[in-house]
Assembly symmetry: C2
Homo-oligomer: 202 residues x 2
């Protein structure tokens, strides 16, 4: 579980990070407060001391924390792929393949850390929906900047970023249910096609 191995400092941080990990794996309704404090090695009352808003407030905070962690992970994947190629279309194919290997390595359990919570809670909790929305938007901004660095014109940056995230999320879903990297590979090819379509048009 890369990105979650950092040393845990305060009780509050330990609760957030443990919550983020459990919400990732089990979803929001599927994770109990009792399990969170138990695995965070914290007293039960602490969670309501630090999060007066209860489970909903903890969920929103955990989503935002996961978002920052995962952005760093994706950044690292891009940086690693950049050591092998400079062509953007080749680069994204490489990133999708790497994402597939990561999901396979987790035995098809760990893909996007917030997708499950987003689907479960977007029509139920406005604070959690907003946390997911803000997180996705921050990812899109990062992806757009990355495409810009590779010469993609400004008008196409956001569209390509949305295409990238959409393909990644959809492929994660199919990969987890099929226990196969095939959807990630196909998504990488599709992403390359979209990039080439934009580059050709300009």
């Amino acid at each position: 579980m890369p990105g979650y191995a950092g040393k845990m400092t305060s009780t509050r941080e330990r609760i957030i990070q443990t919550g983020a990990r459990l919400f990732w794996r089990q979803g929001f309704p599927g994770t109990g407060m009792k399990q969170i404090v138990a695995e965070a090695d914290a007293p039960f009352g602490s969670v309501y001391h630090f999060f007066p808003g209860g489970k909903e407030a903890l969920g929103a905070e955990a989503v935002r924390w996961s978002g920052g962690q995962y952005a760093a992970l994706v950044d690292a994947a891009f940086a690693d792929a950049a050591t092998r190629t400079n062509d953007l279309a080749t680069l994204v194919v490489d990133v999708f393949v790497a994402a597939g290997e990561a999901v396979r390595a987790s035995e098809w359990a760990d893909a996007c850390p917030i997708a499950t919570v987003a689907l479960e809670m977007s029509s139920v909790s406005e604070p959690i929906r907003l946390a997911c929305h803000d997180t996705f938007e921050s990812w899109l901004a990062g992806l757009g900047a990355r495409f810009a660095a590779h010469g993609v014109v400004e008008a196409a940056q956001r569209e390509l970023a949305i295409t990238f995230l959409t393909l990644l999320e959809g492929a994660f879903l199919l990969a987890r249910t099929s226990r196969s990297v095939e959807p990630l590979h196909v998504a990488g090819t599709a992403m390359a096609a979209s990039i080439r379509a934009v580059v050709t048009a300009t």
Copy 2:
């Protein structure tokens, strides 16, 4: 909620259809057996009479039922779009736009009927994961056949089908969290680019 309005016959069918609707909206752990039987207007004991495997067995059955219903819905969307154009790339853009309007009309609540359950349960329940997997595969087969009817060569049919489903699922996720049809529109454009890339290559 189109597709769920058919007359309900047996108690068993009523439980499956009500379960499917609630799992769609609230996810699997977020839906209680009590709520299902209450809304299905069935006695509580019936659910364990018809589903000795308990909630897990009902969940798998509900997923398979939803899969059939949704396939018919997507078929209808394609048929409707086909009254306006014969070009495959234009057709898929039309279908993605229509999907976006459907999600908007449900106030960003109803998108894919099984995606939430798939993410929640794929690493928890093997019967439910398999039901989701089989459902996705049946959708892919239907999409592949549709592309074949539009002249897509056999070697590219499955790849394009995966691209379509991946883009649709990812765009549904982003649309629900952002409350915007933008991801569906971008996904439609990306799908068109993939189709044109295949057609150009052959």
